[in-house]
Point group: C2
Amino acid sequence: MKKNTIVVGAGLVGSLLSIYLSKRGYNVKIFERRPDIRKEQMNAGRSINLALSDRGIKALEEVGIMDDIKKISIPMHGRFLHNADGSTAYQPYGQEGQYINSVSRGELNKKLMDLAEQNGVEIFFEHSFLATESTLMLDNRRMEYAVFSNKNNTRKIPYETDITFGADGAFSKARLNYQLQHDRFQYQQYYIDFGYKELTIPAGKNGEFLLEKNALHIWPRGNYMLIALPNMDGSFTCTLFFPFEGEISFETLDTKEKVATFFKETFTDAFPLMPTLTEDFFHNPTSSLVTVKCFPWVREDKFALIGDAAHAIVPFFGQGMNCGFEDCRVLNELIDKHSEDWNLILEEYQTLRKPDADAIAELALNNFVEMRDKVGDPRFLLQKKIEAAFSKKHPGKWTPAYSQVTFSPHIRYSEALKNSIRQEAIMQQVMSIKDIENKWDDVSVEEKMLQLLG
Amino acid sequence: MKKNTIVVGAGLVGSLLSIYLSKRGYNVKIFERRPDIRKEQMNAGRSINLALSDRGIKALEEVGIMDDIKKISIPMHGRFLHNADGSTAYQPYGQEGQYINSVSRGELNKKLMDLAEQNGVEIFFEHSFLATESTLMLDNRRMEYAVFSNKNNTRKIPYETDITFGADGAFSKARLNYQLQHDRFQYQQYYIDFGYKELTIPAGKNGEFLLEKNALHIWPRGNYMLIALPNMDGSFTCTLFFPFEGEISFETLDTKEKVATFFKETFTDAFPLMPTLTEDFFHNPTSSLVTVKCFPWVREDKFALIGDAAHAIVPFFGQGMNCGFEDCRVLNELIDKHSEDWNLILEEYQTLRKPDADAIAELALNNFVEMRDKVGDPRFLLQKKIEAAFSKKHPGKWTPAYSQVTFSPHIRYSEALKNSIRQEAIMQQVMSIKDIENKWDDVSVEEKMLQLLG
């Protein structure tokens, strides 16, 4: 008999998970706190986009939705740098033919919800998760319920469930409830001192892209940065990652004049493309950036956290969604492996995924420094050039860390982190070679790297 | 005009804080979730005792209560070790005349509550903290309330307050409320894999102590340990620190027979002194051990966390209460320093105390390994002997870490941690001297230490 499963949260991960489960014949209900975004007018200026890459794609292909998603994705083949001195530079993300995809969070979520419903999933909107509860039955079985409140109904509404998944994001109510029920729950929430604000570069008069379309644009400025990702309509969604406090910060940019002056001086080529900059700046919220780590993620064969609810990370490696989709793919493999024994499935799920989630959390925090600061540094660029050349010559011996994370779904995040630490140690030695600037493509450098690799 | 202050929690730290504030003329109310322990029968077998040392004593002396507390304290001059092979050993805690004090948590708390009331503090029992709220007044001032529920009253009861202190312990409701109100609240709760259970060694027939009275007894056993502290009535309160799971653990000791056999074999000299062992073992709860770190601790001039609510630590350095008392003493000094400007007071309070709280948290976790494992290791004992001899000869150059924390309230915890790391590095080198076992008191060792100290 197939189990009743309840998924808390109809976001990207909750919707994808429900598709995986319903395709296996499970009876799946999703409960979502918000109204149905397919019926609501989207807020203007909130067209958030995400970088979909190979780990996410692999899962979307498995459930057969990737062809549809491809139609609403824009390939980004590399970083397009806009330096402070007015110069620009382009860094491909990987080898020829490797790219990440700019995709609208809203559109992707709608498609996933549609597909979930087509597969028989029921989605209940405006239902807030309250708790899981259980009752002892006459036959001594313990019956488990997930309890919700509906905005039209102040009563608590219990739904029978065999397995409940908390897929309700970084500020998960399902996790909070589990934390209160579980005595020794390890928990950490860590905020960086930077926030972000979404801004926009609209399309040109005829709907044309006003910056190079197939790239992720970065304005690295040391302690902060602006980035821009292309949208299907020719516009770009920009995100300013910026200190909350300090000399140059959200706190000090407190008038439209200051914002305009600052952008004009700091993001000189972007400023003329942002006609609604000062309105957007004060209209759009300033959001914070949290890393959440917790353990355990599961309770027996009855409950599991998944996606951001289990491991929220900062967005600087573009892996939040991809990691959550990979959670679903791994879980699906484990259902096969353990023939639907959910005690074994969930135990191995958390054992496998916890170190990977910790690793991508660390990689994502590190990448912030790389994006906002190092990416504009000539020595960093030289290092990347040496790595790329070596990697091209010895593809089996050296895959750059970015490529391991982004284009190599067969490499676990935890392996990628270990490899990247080892590679960084080697590159420190290579970069300390005297006059490396001039002899970087000398055979002696290649031999040194081969020797250090052992 | 003196301010209205509300203290959440009538535990040790909340009561002491209220005395400090009321002595300065503040109007202080304490709200406590539990009933008045002075009117309740204490639970049998729950006579928890604590190690009061110099940091705590300094605060109790300042408020003039130390003479009273001395009457219910038992000096412990050192560790009395009960080794697995049946041998015993004694390690003084410090120099001649330095000792820590075994004191009953309940008795100490009662005395502090009495003294608080004698100083004009009002204590409201069975009031659960719900939230702080504020209202804008006609004159544009913001009026702040602390809101409680009373077990006799389902209504929320708001009390006007200028400053609210959360002194409600490791699982603080005041902290949880602050966390929900404060966007970027850094928070971490970390449980070790060990729990504890209280057991008892009753007094002898004529009320005599059945173990050496003036010592803290330890049965170190590698991965776990039993300790015992003396009570005024001749009994000892024992605490078993033990793994939750694993081959030998709370999980596997699941019958009275197994417990009796295990204690008989493992704590051979203690077992015959524990007639109610197996009843106590299954009657008393198994408690977990948490470290809580968070930041910020304060909101403007209106709210502050103090004691365990700000920084819960594991009990292995005997500093939880002492650290909380020191919080109160430091805060009191800052009231003088900043002439009652509470914005400045609270800002400096958290700036000063946060690194000290982090340091004692780390020292306390480290000390668990020392107590349960190293303390029985001959090489560790030799190291301590070398340190003690050197310290006696060069008192200005070397104060053992334990003494810095326990007997040197003028040294900040954060300094003590730094010093202890430096000392440990030096002792690693000393202990690696060839044949150190035989020439430990040779002048060459002393010279080496002087040289390493620089």
